[in-house]
Each structure stands twice: as C-alpha cells, then as structure tokens.
C-alpha cells in the first residue's frame, strides 16, 4: 500500500498534471494550483517531520515494492535522521519560491509551474530513495527540470550557463551511473543475489578490492561534489546562479546543493568507509580551500548574484568540512547547516531577486542608500546577512559552530584556517550591505518601493526559521543524532569486515548500523 512518502512524491506530480490540463492563458489559476500543490506537500512533510521519532538510526515511514525484481531493483522509500529535515526544508521552500516567482516569471508561466513541480518531486524523491537505481532516477529527474528552468527562463547569458550546467551534470551522472553498476556487481561477491537496495548493501561489506573501492568512492564523490559544488568543480555555479531566474537560483543554492552534500553522507560514507577515511584529509583540504577561495572571490565580485554565488560556495565548504571531520558534532553541524544554508542563502537570493525585480540592476555599485527608501527590505536583508555570517542567535551560528568545534577536535589544522572564513563571510556580506543599502541614496532610487505584502509573506517565515533554529536548534539536532552516530560508527569501525548482523524484520538499517 502506498504510504505517506509516496504521497509526498505524488502530490507535486499530480499538481503538475493538473496544471498541465489548465489553459495556458489562465495564469492566475496556474499559479494558484501550483501554490496549493506545494502547500499540500508542505503539510504532508510537516506531518512526517513532526511524527518522526528521534533516537533511532533506522528508516522510518519505510515503503517497499518490487519494481524490477529480476535485477533486484526495488521501489524503496524511507526517511532517517539524514533526510527527514531536508525533506521538510524542500517542502518548505517550494511554496515560498513559487510565491516569489509570481513577481519574476511572466513568460510561459504554465510551463514554469509544471517544471518546478517536477523538480520538487525529483528533489523529494532524491532525499527519500533507498535504492540506488531509484535514487539515480530521481537524481536525473531533478536535474532535467533544473536544466530547463535555467535554459528557458534565464537571463541574457542563459544558453552558455545552461550548457555548462548540463556538461558538468552529465559528467557527474555518468560517473555515478557506472559506479552504481559496479556496486551492484560487487554486492554479489558474498555469494548472495546482487542488489541495488541500500540497506541490503550495507548489511555486509562490499566485495571489492580497496583500490576499486577508492575509485567507486571517487566516482560518487565527484558527482556529489559537482552539485555542492566543491572547489575546483564549481565553475558552472557563478554562471548558473547569475543567469537563472532569481527564484530558480534559490532552488539551486538552497536545495540542489544540499542534494550533493546529502549524497556524500548517504552513499559515500556508509558504502565506502575505508575510502572515505583515506580521502578525508583531501576533502577537508578542498573544503578549506573552498571556504577561503569562495570568500575571497565573492569579496571581489561586482555582480550581486555572483557575489552571493561565491559566498554560497564558501558556505558549502563548511558543510563539506564537517562531513569529513567524522565527528558527531561536526556532522551534526553539517546537517543542520544544510537546512540553515537552504534558508539563509535562499533568502539572500530572494532578496537579490526583489532588488532585480525593482531596478533590473545586477551590479552592487548601481545601488546605494536603499535602506533610506526601503527600510523594511533593508532590515530583512540585514537579518538574513547576519544569519549567513553566523551571528550567534541566528541559525547560521549553530551550524558553523558545531562544524568548527567538531573539526577542531578531529582536524585542528583544517579548523583554524576555516575559522578565518567567518571573517571572510563578514567581509563580503557587509560589503554587499554597504554597497546596496548604505551610502548616499541615489536619486534614481528614490522611488524604490519597500516590501509589499506578498514579499513579507515570503520573508517572514524564513526569518522566523532563522531565529527559531538559532535559539532552539534541538528539534533538528535530536532528529539526526542517532543516524549520524551510526554512520560515523560505521566509518570508524571499518577496519576489518563489518560484523554480520542478522537482518531484523522490516529492515530498519538506514544509513548505517541499526541501534539496538
């Protein structure tokens, strides 16, 4: 019987079908159906998030059905501590993005809403799939709509940006596909039937040579690293972020980047523990380079969205750093920072979109003194900037603090330069505030309108989450703690063959070992 997770994927698909049936001219109806659909998905996701029982490392709300039994492909969905909050984040951001899109996307609205809903289904499925093939299908189902969103609704340079996005994406996808097949073949080494089922794969060590494991790890990691992105695989990012319509950039930065980080935690660490440990120092080093490099380049950008794009990349470096510290607080910090980055960076790009919508100006130096004419917009921007530069009391601090304090115990040599990244973040973000909102008010901006009711409706929920997570992050932390602990125990214990645990009824092994 299809359960609530299937419903969660199905709702956007049904909504997309419903929108497709509407006449293209009825723009208001199209938007309304899109918004209602995403709100329905949000309601489901909120229910799931609230009902999720913390304290277990295994899968909850699990659904499994045979798909292609001949080769061990199953339709297998489930949530654990790694994914439950990311699903909620996805469902939370889509209605806000669609609401914001109303002011920014005016061409081919129907096609836009349909594509966005398909993207939502792909993202939700990506976070819930427990079968490698199913994951891959959702992964592609998320990338294809994103390609169209950039290529069809983007700015003047959209063609080049979309091509670059496409090439990077295909490169990663092909590598991952090959690796998935190799894992499938390797899973039969123990004598059993080969399988794509993740919990089954994790029940015993993969039967591949260490060298092969390293190659497979690298193939998965590159695919995920491109999405985050990790330095030096990031050069699609400034173009895509700056050329996509602002609301699409929100989805790119807030959600798609998280799919990359999530993939590392979901697949790379549990499937290839030895290789993860071997590559850990390298990835930590790349993370530090990304943090500082992204921060420095962001500071030198004159284009508002390129500044925020490199800043986003710098912040994703913290998430990568935390993951490969292999330390509970650090990985917990990375997970909560995925949510925070989604909220804060999403809000930053939304605000950039509001500015672009008002003036059409991409460069920061074309602004000046906006706080004098749009104080509420400036106040909202300030709050979001502060959360992004990790001011204590906002969500950003919780994530970066946990990442850094955990990394400091595990890899102090990486934590110290990474901490300097907090200064870099302050430098480019306050430069953004300074150039746009402070300084003498330009005469041609005197009529710039302040936030409208619709924009308040989008920003206020984001700001509430910023303070909620900043002041009371425990609901997020307790949901992921058991799973994170299990994953890390797996990474740490993978010296010899992992102990064979008798499969429990209903198989509650998620991203790692089950807890008793």
């Amino acid at each position: 019987m299809p359960g609530i997770l299937t419903a969660l994927v199905a709702v956007p698909l049904i909504g997309a079908a419903g929108v497709a049936l509407l006449p293209a001219g009825r723009v208001r109806a199209v938007r309304a159906v899109g918004l209602v659909t995403t709100l329905a998905a949000l309601a489901l996701a909120a229910w799931v998030w609230a009902r999720f029982a913390p304290g277990t490392s295994g899968l909850e709300f699990e659904e499994r059905a045979a798909w292609v039994p001949a080769v061990g492909i199953a339709y297998h969905l489930g949530l654990d501590g790694l994914s439950v909050s990311l699903v909620a984040l996805t469902a939370f951001l889509f209605p806000l993005a669609l609401a914001a899109a109303a002011g920014q996307v005016r061409d081919r609205v129907k096609a836009f809403v349909v594509t966005a809903l398909l993207l939502e289904a792909g993202l939700l499925g990506t976070f819930m799939a427990q079968d490698l093939v199913l994951f891959y299908v959702f992964w592609e189902a998320m990338l294809v709509p994103m390609y169209f969103l950039i290529a069809l609704w983007g700015g003047a340079g959209r063609a080049g940006a979309a091509i670059k996005f496409f090439l990077y994406t295909m490169a990663g996808s092909i590598l991952m596909l090959v690796a998935i097949v190799a894992v499938y073949l390797g899973s039969a080494a123990g004598g059993g039937a080969p399988t794509f089922d993740l919990p089954s794969l994790l029940r015993e060590p993969l039967g591949v040579a260490p060298g092969v494991q390293a190659v497979l790890f690298a193939a998965f990691a590159v695919a995920f690293a491109i999405k985050m992105p990790v330095w030096p695989l990031h050069t699609w990012l400034p173009d895509a972020y700056a050329e996509a319509p602002p609301v699409v950039t929100v989805l790119l930065a807030s959600l798609m980047a998280k799919a990359g980080a999530y993939g590392l935690l979901r697949f790379c660490l549990p499937l290839f523990p030895e290789a993860s440990r071997a590559f850990g120092p390298l990835l930590s080093a790349l993370a530090v380079v990304g943090i500082l490099y992204g921060g420095a380049v962001a500071w030198a950008q004159g284009d508002m969205r390129r500044l925020l794009a490199y800043g986003s990349m710098s912040h994703m470096g913290f998430i990568l750093l935390g993951i490969f510290a292999f330390d509970v607080p650090a990985v917990q910090g990375s997970l909560i920072q995925m949510v925070n980055h989604g909220v804060s960076t999403g809000a930053l790009f939304l605000l950039a979109g509001y500015l672009l919508e008002r003036t059409g100006r991409a460069r920061t130096d074309a602004y000046g003194g906006v706080a004098a004419t749009a104080p509420a917009l400036a106040a909202a921007a300030l709050i979001v900037v502060l959360s992004s530069l990790a001011l204590p009391g906002t969500n950003g601090f919780i994530g970066e603090f946990l990442i850094l304090v955990g990394t400091f115990q595990a890899r102090p040599a990486a934590a110290v330069p990474a901490t300097l990244g907090t200064v870099a973040a302050a430098a480019y973000l306050l430069a953004f505030v300074g150039r746009v909102f402070h300084g003498p008010l330009r005469d041609d901006l005197r009529a710039l309108p302040d936030l409208r009711a619709r924009e308040y409706a989008v920003l206020v929920p984001l700001i509430l989450v910023i303070f909620w997570v900043g002041l009371y992050p425990q609901p997020l932390l307790v949901r992921s703690e058991a799973t994170v602990t299990a994953v890390l125990r797996r990474v740490a214990a993978a010296h010899g063959p992992a102990p064979r645990a008798a499969p429990a009824v209903g198989s509650r092994a998620g991203g790692g070992e089950r807890t008793p």
């Binding site: 091509i163 004098a372 104080p375 992050p473 425990q474």
Partner: protein, 647 residues
C-alpha cells in the same frame, strides 16, 4: 535568582517593541519604552544585588539554566546565567550608566527622525551587553559578545547615508571579528580541554586540567585574549575605535567607552582561573596593556578632533585595565573599569553637549573659549578631565593609582614606569583638549581647511561652528541631569576601591570569587603606597602645568616637526595596515576572481571540450539542440536499465 534573566530581557523587549512599532508611535512613547526598560533592568540588578547581599559571602553564586541550547555528541552548551558578585557588579555598572545615557539620548537625538531605530538598536545593545556579563558559559557569552559587536556596527553606521559612517561600521565589525576568530578557537580549545565551557566548572577544573605554564593553558589564555584585543581595542587591533566616533556621541559614551570595550577585561577576570595557569599569557596581557596605554596616549596628543581624542584616551585607559589584570589585580581591573565608565561617559556626554551647542562640530580648532558660554558643560568636562588625569579625589585617581601600585608591587617595575609615563601624557592630552575647547580664545588652534563634524545631524541648523553671535548654550535638563549624575559618581566613585584599609568595598565584594592566588604579592607598606601615589599625582600635575605653560601662558614652545608629523599620523600604524594587510588581501581577492574565470573554468571547459570531440558536439549543443539531449539523458538511463534487465 531566576529573576536575573529579566535584566537582559527588559531591554530585549524594548528592542522588539520599538523595532516593530516605534515608527508608528510618537517620539515620546519611543523614549519612554527605551529608557523605561533600561531603568527596569537597573532596578532588577539592584534587587538581585540585595538578594546576594543577604547570603553569606561564600554562597553568593547561582547558576540559572534556562534550557539546553546546543547539545549534540560531546558538545553541550546550555543557555544559562551565572549570577555572582562579579556579574552583578558589571550588570549594575552597565545598566546604571546605560540608563543615564539613554535619558541623555532623548535630548541629544531629539531632532533625528530615526529616533525609533536609534533606541531600538540601543536597547538591543543593552540586552546583548547585559547578557554578555551574566552568561554562564563561554558559548552563551559569545551571543552577547557578538551581539554588542553587531550593535556597535549598527550604531556607528547609524547615519548610514554618510560614507565615512558606513565604512567605519564595517571596519569595526571586521576588525573585532578578526579578534573573535581567536575567541572562537579559544572556545574550541576549552571544549577540548574541559569538555565544557561552563565558567564555574572550568574554574574548578583549571588546576587539574591545565598544567601550570603548559601549552594548553597558554594557548587558551592567548586565544581568548586575542578576542579581547579586538573587542577592547588593544594593540594591534585598536584601529577601529577612533573611526567608530562616526556614530552619535551617546553611542560613543555607552558602547565605545563605558561598556562594550571593557568586555575583554571582564572576560579575563571571568576566566582568571585559566589565566592563573598561564603566567606567560598574563605577562603578554600586561605588556600589551602597558604598551597600548602609552601608545594611545601619545596618539591622542596631536589629534584635532575632540571625539577622537576621547577615543584614543579610551584605548589608553583600557590598556591600564589590561595592565591591571595582567599582573593579577582582578578587582582593581574591575575598579578601573567602573570608574572609567563613570568619568569617560561623562567626558563623552560633555563633548556631546559641546557638539550639540555647535551644530555637530567636533574639530577643536574651531572651538575655544566656551567655558563662559557653556558653564555647566565646562564644569562637567572638567570633572571628567581631572578624573582621567588622575587628580585626587576623583575616582580616576584611586583606580589608576591602584593599578600602578599593583604593577609596581608585582615586580613589573618597567611596566609601572611605562604606565606612569602614560599617566603624564594622559594629563597632557586631556588638559590640552580642555584648553582648546573651553579656555583659549576661538581660532587659537589655527583651524585646518576641513573641519570634522558629526553626523548628518538634522537637528543642527547647518554647520555653524563658532560663528559669532550664534546661539550657544548649555544643553536642556534631560541632557544636563545625566551629566550631573555621572559627575557625582566620578566624584564619589573612588570610595568603591579605596578605603583606609585596603582592600576596598569592591575588592571585598568580589573577594570570595577572586581571592585564591589572585594578587601575586600583596605585600606593601602604607609608606610605599603613599610614595607611589605621590609619584602618580606629581606626573599628572606636571602634565597639566605643562599644558598651561605651553598653550595658555605660551611660556614654552615645544615644536619638533618630526615628532608632530609622527604623532599626526599616529605612528603610521594605520598606513602600515593599509599597505601591508588591506591592499594585499584586496589584490589576492581580485586576482582569485580572474584566476577563477581564466584558469579553473578554462581548464574544466577545455577538458570537456577535449572529451566531447574537438568541440563538434559543443557546437551542436549550442545551436539549440541541448534541450533534446537533456531529455534524452533520462531516456538513456532507462534504456541502459532495460539492457541490463534483458541481458
């Protein structure tokens, strides 16, 4: 003791209310909310003080845990308060001086149309600062630590349409954040060493976990001190504070003189158990303090801007506090913190009254002879100046003498000598400022081409300066009364630390907390004490007399062009930073931006091109077929799957 949480909560509520609704209310309502919440915080602090006094001295410490804030794995940081003599003393100073400055602000900012935003920020500052002093662990303290920094940024850049104000705000934030990297690393190290950052737990475990003089203790102490040098504007991170004078003057009085900048001193006293395990770090603290004291005092000598003189003076006086705690004189550090809060706030408020009368003028070369026209202001400034110079019986005399004698008795004779010389310079620069502003005839200081001026000051009817015939008068009562109160505190504040038999009231109040091994050598006869005090007093008087001879009587001419130039450029420190730090970082960032496009992107695209078959594929993709390819990707995946299935 749970009531203590109300101390920061009252101003926080003021921030929320004024921030959300202030623009719709009248100015009067805004002012009442803002001042009322701070006065309420002061009242609660008094009540908590009374509760503590009722307890026996050994039991005057209570931890109040609100809830678990961050807790995962081994990292636990509750949101909690530590109510003890030290935090309550600081809460009283902060909320008391803060309340007076809030009231003064009602008059000072009366003409500003953004008064709601001003008071919202000011209330948020009070909440952050009170949280900082009351917090029960380092992570919780960091909320307040960064919160005051944020408010400092917001209030320095309050007149944000003026580029210098906006730039000064950013500079303050970035420089202090550089120091905060040290603070953060200190927190991480504390977690590694203690497994907690709870102040009481750390103090209890310091003896066992930190070997005396070991690397862990030294590193922890120095990292936290790096945070203190940023927030408290010590060498080498002091450079933001003079620029911070772009903010409204009451802000300078509250944040950049009386409260926030002293947070570093408070933090060291709070962490004194750790510092006692790191004698080397304590020596660094003392040396940096003494060096900053004399450096900033010298820099104040040639400064033409009244507010910036006071800013350098604050840096210098903070140096004294660090010298004090650096030789282990915890309670004397807090004593000087307190008396400095009184007299420096008074000086700033008096300077603000001068600016208020002159339409925002801050250039002393455009002032002069104001004593007769602003008698109350001149009197207030004189009280503050005498205290700063260290003249008996003002508070500054007692607190500064205490630190000087502590340094001497701790065997740091060199540091004592440096601090004594700095005391002479202190008397010199503040007497010079007083002479230029109030005594000498106008125009004496040979006005430069461009004056210095505060704010866009809509309250002022233009840049008046000292135009003849202009209406120049003492400020209204709402500004005069807080100045009077601070003058009274400056007169009486010495009683906090000095009594016939040392230790004084404050030292005895803080005693149970700080006693163990606090002072290295408290040996000293009353005779030597008196001799030390006499030396300090003599230097101060000499400084004032010198100013009188040079500026008033013109009996002496001290003119060395080289010294003048060096002083006018503040020893070229800022020029050095601009050339050696800011410019290279900027160049690297710009270079990285180009590198990113040319090299990394070029390499990746080139690789793709090579793999993709010499660009033929790319050309076709670019001609509009790409969307088909993208759609085909999904189809291709499914086709592959089908192949494996039927293989």
């Amino acid at each position: 003791m749970r009531a203590a949480i109300l101390i920061p909560l009252f101003p926080l509520a003021g921030w929320v209310v004024n921030g959300l609704l202030g623009d719709r209310w009248g100015r009067r309502a805004v002012a009442w909310v803002a001042c009322g919440t701070v006065v309420a915080a002061f009242a609660v602090s008094l009540a908590v003080l009374a509760r503590l006094l009722a307890l026996p001295p050994g039991a005057r410490s209570a931890a109040v845990v609100l809830y678990e804030w961050i807790g995962t794995g081994s990292v636990r940081a509750p949101l909690g308060l530590l109510v003890d003599p030290l935090s309550v003393a600081l809460a009283l100073v902060v909320s008391g001086v803060g309340a007076l400055i809030h009231i003064y602000s009602v008059g000072y900012m009366a003409g500003d149309e953004h008064i709601a935003r001003y008071f919202a920020y000011l209330n948020l500052f009070m909440a952050s600062m009170l949280w900082l002093v009351l917090a029960g662990n380092l992570v919780a303290m960091f909320i307040g630590w960064e919160g005051v920094g944020l408010c400092s940024y917001l209030l320095i850049a309050f007149w944000f349409t003026r580029p210098p104000a906006a730039a000064a705000g950013v500079k303050a934030f970035l420089v202090t954040r550089l120091g905060d990297v040290g603070f953060l690393l200190g927190i991480f190290l504390a977690f590694a060493v203690f497994g907690t950052t709870d102040f009481t737990a750390m103090a209890r475990a310091a003896g066992s976990r930190l070997p005396l003089g070991g690397p862990a203790a030294t590193a922890l102490a120095l990292l936290l001190f790096l945070g203190a040098t940023g927030k408290s504007a010590q060498l080498p991170l002091y450079v933001w504070l003079p620029d911070a004078m772009e903010g409204p003057t009451p802000v300078s009085a509250l944040i950049h003189a009386a409260t926030m900048v002293t947070a570093g001193v408070y933090m060291i006293v709070r962490m004194h158990a750790v510092y006692l395990r790191a004698p080397l770090a304590l020596d660094v603290v003392a040396i940096v303090g003494a060096a900053t004291a004399i450096f900033a005092a010298a820099a104040a000598l040639a400064e033409p801007d009244l507010k910036r003189v006071l800013a350098y003076s604050t840096i210098s006086q903070l140096g004294y506090m660090f010298l004090g705690v650096g030789v282990g004189a915890w309670s004397d550090g807090i004593f000087h913190l307190t008396s400095h809060a009184f007299f420096k706030a008074l000086l700033f408020l008096a300077a603000g009254a001068v600016m208020h009368a002159l339409g925002g003028e801050t250039d002393m070369r455009r002032m002069g002879g104001l004593a007769g026209r602003l008698p109350a202001t001149a009197g207030a400034f004189a009280v503050g100046a005498l205290a700063l110079a260290g003249i008996w019986p003002f508070a500054g005399f007692f607190s500064k003498e205490a630190i000087l004698s502590d340094a001497f008795r701790a065997g740091r004779v060199w540091l004592w000598a440096v601090a004594l010389a700095a005391a002479g310079l202190t008397a010199l620069y503040i007497a010079r400022a007083f002479a230029l502003v109030f005594v000498l005839p106008p125009g004496e200081g040979s006005a430069g081409p461009a004056g210095c001026r505060e704010g866009d000051a809509p309250r002022a009817a233009g840049h008046r300066g000292l135009a003849p015939g202009a209406e120049v008068a003492d400020p209204p009562p709402v500004m005069r009364w807080p100045m009077g109160a601070l003058a009274l505190l400056t007169l009486l504040g010495g009683a906090l630390g000095w009594s016939a038999a040392r230790p004084g009231v404050l030292a005895r109040w803080l005693g149970p907390l700080l006693a163990p091994g606090a002072l290295r050598s408290s040996e000293g006869t009353h005779g030597s004490e008196a001799a030390l005090a006499a030396a300090g007093l003599a230097v101060a008087v000499a400084g004032i007399v010198l100013v009188w001879l040079v500026y008033v009587r013109r009996a002496l001419r001290v003119r060395s062009q080289a010294v003048q130039t060096v002083l006018a450029h503040r020893f070229y420190v800022e020029d050095f930073y601009a050339a050696a730090v800011v410019a290279p970082v900027r160049a690297v960032a710009r270079w990285a931006g180009g590198f990113d496009r040319a090299v990394i992107d070029g390499a990746v695209v080139g690789l793709a091109r090579a793999i993709g078959g010499g660009g033929a594929v790319l050309r076709r993709l670019q001609s509009g077929y790409l969307r088909h390819y993208a759609a085909l990707a999904l189809v291709g995946v499914l086709a592959l799957l089908a192949y494996w299935m039927w293989r």
